[in-house]
Symmetry: C2
Subunit: 334 residues, 2 copies
Amino acid sequence: MSQTIEKRDAAPQELRTLYAVVREELVQVDELLRTELTSEYPFVEELARHGFRLGGKRLRPALVLLAGKLCGGIDGRHLQLAAAVEMVHTASLIHDDVLDEATIRRHLDTVNARWDNEASILLGDYLFARAFRLAASLDNPFAVRRLIEASRLMCEGELRQIQTRGNYDLTEDGYLEIIADKTASLCACCCEIGAHYAGAGEAERQALTAFGRKLGVAFQIVDDLLDVLGDEQTIGKSLGTDLVKQKPTLPLIRLLNQSGPEQRAKMVEILSTTTAHHREALKPWLEKSDAISYSKRRATEFVESAATELRGIPDAPSKDSLVGIAQFVVDRRH
Amino acid sequence: MSQTIEKRDAAPQELRTLYAVVREELVQVDELLRTELTSEYPFVEELARHGFRLGGKRLRPALVLLAGKLCGGIDGRHLQLAAAVEMVHTASLIHDDVLDEATIRRHLDTVNARWDNEASILLGDYLFARAFRLAASLDNPFAVRRLIEASRLMCEGELRQIQTRGNYDLTEDGYLEIIADKTASLCACCCEIGAHYAGAGEAERQALTAFGRKLGVAFQIVDDLLDVLGDEQTIGKSLGTDLVKQKPTLPLIRLLNQSGPEQRAKMVEILSTTTAHHREALKPWLEKSDAISYSKRRATEFVESAATELRGIPDAPSKDSLVGIAQFVVDRRH
């Protein structure tokens, strides 16, 4: 589990440069995370650290801090909230990974896989609770309410995505609505609470929230594109799993939409088999179609639209960082 | 999953009689739960209802309401909190059951089992989030803080219990500390928030909290005793699973403590094998020892001590109900 997370969250240099404006604060957030993960029970602490043994890319904490900086300044509450959103993110990754790991280990050691699964589910629950506790410790209940609501939407989005499995009639709009909940709601929340606790006005807060949401949508489109496309070596996690799980994501939706009924039927047939070679089988079609460039373009549009949301806010280094991060989200190769 | 929950939570007549003082309010809580579980997405709603398709014994909502009634009276906030604690309880049961179900279904249909597991993990997360959202919707953040903290302790207790697997040197005190977190923290929270939102003074609130905690400890001791002892037919769930999972619970701890080194070594050897017949193999020893009567006695002591906590509070029908429920917890056969 930790290995999957570790690799998929490795923080690239470009991103660290973009974080320069809040570098010091991010260090404090990491310290706070370390403190938050201590437990009087060594086993619990070991597990929690295991979940965080990643030095992740800290995208969500950076959003909280930069939104705060842009809207009036950061204080101790931002640090706490930045730690809390990272804990929610990690908790959700741990739960996402439970099943994948179960498959891998099933052939090795079932008892061990069971133990790990059980511990992973509980560890995720534990981290959710600790994240909410941290957010609820602030005087003002705004943050904990927003964070709980974002978590609810994440789950709802993921549940809805489960239901779309094998449904190759899912529309692009349907897909976008799902990823807005599944992924973008937490990014939106990060920017919103960052702005709120900096004393942002209503318009400013809404602009930051919309920025976060669009950035989150773009992020997920690129994630899904990399799953179909990417180089496992570079990305460091199993790819093509969306296809195996019969999860219709944007490149596939586009490919199917652009295909004639006969071709489409063939593709759906391939996708409906349980073989793990969907990616290879679909590759020639994908390369001939505009599915890849189209998906990339859609992500770029969301990122451009995200930047536009910040137009009304005076320029500042923190604004440049936010826009740069949004751009990074589309350009990244992993 | 739902089947397990359904059976283990069936509400017996004796308990319903004890709920008479808050019967009307419990009906309102059930209505609120139904409303809370609606979703604009039919699949999400179906899953959530699936988790609640039980008409459970509603022990935790009853504790919130009765504590409220005893300490000054129930209002709308108690109803919301009663619904919230039931959602937390259900969420934790759903996560508990994920792995058990995975085993059962693995031989039938792996894809289906995977799907269900994934949905179950997300459904649990979703219900936790909805529970916290409901509690956070109150003006006063006391309840959401307490509920989040109880959930954290539940996870921590369960994680610690995982670590005790196969550790037959676990002491009775170590065991009691674990179940105080794992099970009693939520019961304590129910009584505490019930009292708090009824305007209870500090002493009263502490008395109710201690009552809930001791009741919760007794509840878990009896649960563990039934797992070793009980009649699967009556209880309607697989038993002996604690032994299979090498989870040292009170009857076993007592049995091992009362045995000589040679006998003890034999027992540990049996327990360490992966066969599923631990219960049969241990039965003669259990019957010769005082492990069963001792465990029952310890549970009774906790329940008596729980009742003593309420001594300072004037008599009332709601107090009788609370004491009656505590007694029921020890007397129950399932």
